[in-house]
Structures are given as C-alpha cells and as structure tokens.
Symmetry: C2
Subunit: 152 residues, 2 copies
Amino acid sequence: MDLIRERALLDVALEEARVGLKEGGIPIGAALYGADGALLGRGRNRRVQDGDPSMHAETAAFRAAGRQRTYSGTTMVTTLAPCWYCSGLVRQFGISRVVIGEARSFDGGQAWLAEHGVQIVVLDDAECVALMRDFIAARPELWLEDIGEPEP
Amino acid sequence: MDLIRERALLDVALEEARVGLKEGGIPIGAALYGADGALLGRGRNRRVQDGDPSMHAETAAFRAAGRQRTYSGTTMVTTLAPCWYCSGLVRQFGISRVVIGEARSFDGGQAWLAEHGVQIVVLDDAECVALMRDFIAARPELWLEDIGEPEP
C-alpha cells in the first residue's frame, strides 16, 4: 500500500470538505478516481446547501462522474468513513477501493465492504478528524439529521 | 398486513415507472410515505433522462421528500426490489417499511433489510413484473449499466 499516494488522493476530498464547511454545510468531501488514476468526479455533502438529503459526499462525487459503464478498478476517496447508504453505493456499483480520511467520528459499512471484497484504506488523517470533531461539537443536531439518528 | 392498502400505495410508484418508460428511461418508480400515510416524495430512475446514475427511483423519491428529521414510521414503495445502494439508504435513515412491487427481475438487499428490522412486503404485481421483463429484454445493456453489472 502506497500511503503517500493515497494521502495525495485525499487532497481533493479534503478541499471539498473545507468548501462545504465555509458554505455552512456538513464538512465531508469525496472524489472518485478511475482505474488509471484520473479524477472522474468530486463532490461534498449538500444537505444544507441544496436542502438535498440524498447528496452525501460520496453520492455527490459519484453523480459528478456521470454515467460509467463499469466501476472496476475505481477508487472512492472520502474524508469520513462511508455510511450504509454510501457503502451500498460502493457495493452495488462494484467500486474496487475506498480510501477513508478518518473512521473515528463514524463507523458505517467499511467492515461489510471489506467482507465483500472491497479494498479499504483508512488514513486516520488529523485534519479530517478535526473537521468532524469540531463540526459535531458545534452542530450536533445537523450531524444526527445527516445520518438519520434521533437526538439523544 | 393489509394488502389492499399496500396495492393502493403502489399506484404512485407505478405511475412514475410508466412515465419513465415513456421518457425513454429505466421504468422503475418509487414513493416515500410518512408515518401518517401522507406522500412525502415521489420519483423515478433518472439515469437516461438526466444522465444521473445516482438517481435510482428510491433515491429520487427520498430526495423529493427533502430534509426530514426522522424516517421512523415511513414507508418506501418501489416497483422493483431495492438494490444495495437503495437498501443502504433505507438502513442508514431508518425507513421502517419497504413495499416492493416485484422481486422477480432483481434481488438486492431485501433479506438484509429484513434481518435489520425493516418490514418488507412483496406484492408480486403483474404490471411491475411485465415492465421490467420487457425493458430488460429490449435494453439489456442499459439495465446492466444501472446496476453496475458487466455485460455477459
């Protein structure tokens, strides 16, 4: 595993997350790369910006990539471990690899994906951790809404 | 289980599927209902119409419903058994029930959802079966693209 290369892959997703935060949104970003390393699509959570609960960072990047005949060999990079919704996306479309900025703030379907043959890389990136930790502390109700959890 | 009521719930999803077919799209429709039975959102597969692979029927209906604080008690009605992507949506957001028009043409995550406490109702509706059977026979490449499967 070439961790230097994967950390570089995280750059675009992190940039998306930072923009999302500035927009008042939930700071999660993602990018989808082709088997050849080309950027196919990038996006960020758009719940607040567009009032659209279907646009998590991963689904936004997937959408931005447009129609693709196959996802074999592709890599989904995301600043935060994918939820069940986004994990289902990865499994259904046969995305080969998921590179995760951090999995401390949230644990979705990454183990399930690994069981089903998806390569998982967790970078445990300090900026990704700080982005979510600070956001969850500041806007807990928005974070819980985004993952469909009741307020405590 | 009140099958007459569930068959009536299927009407909106079926109408969406029929419109999708007329538009040249993949004929799958869905509708999300609140705990009180009110229609929250409806939609259809938009891969062809919008060039958007992220809009399956269920995600389109979920999007159309806008931001919701909870999905407890809601019902997702879909003309075709949900794929892993749409099953992940149901699980993550805690949608309580899925009413499925037919599960002959496709088998996604319905058993997995049932294991995780989602109520599943399969209507085995003849029109839903015919819509997908005829579409898959006519446009197999489009159907396979929509579920991320390689061509045979």
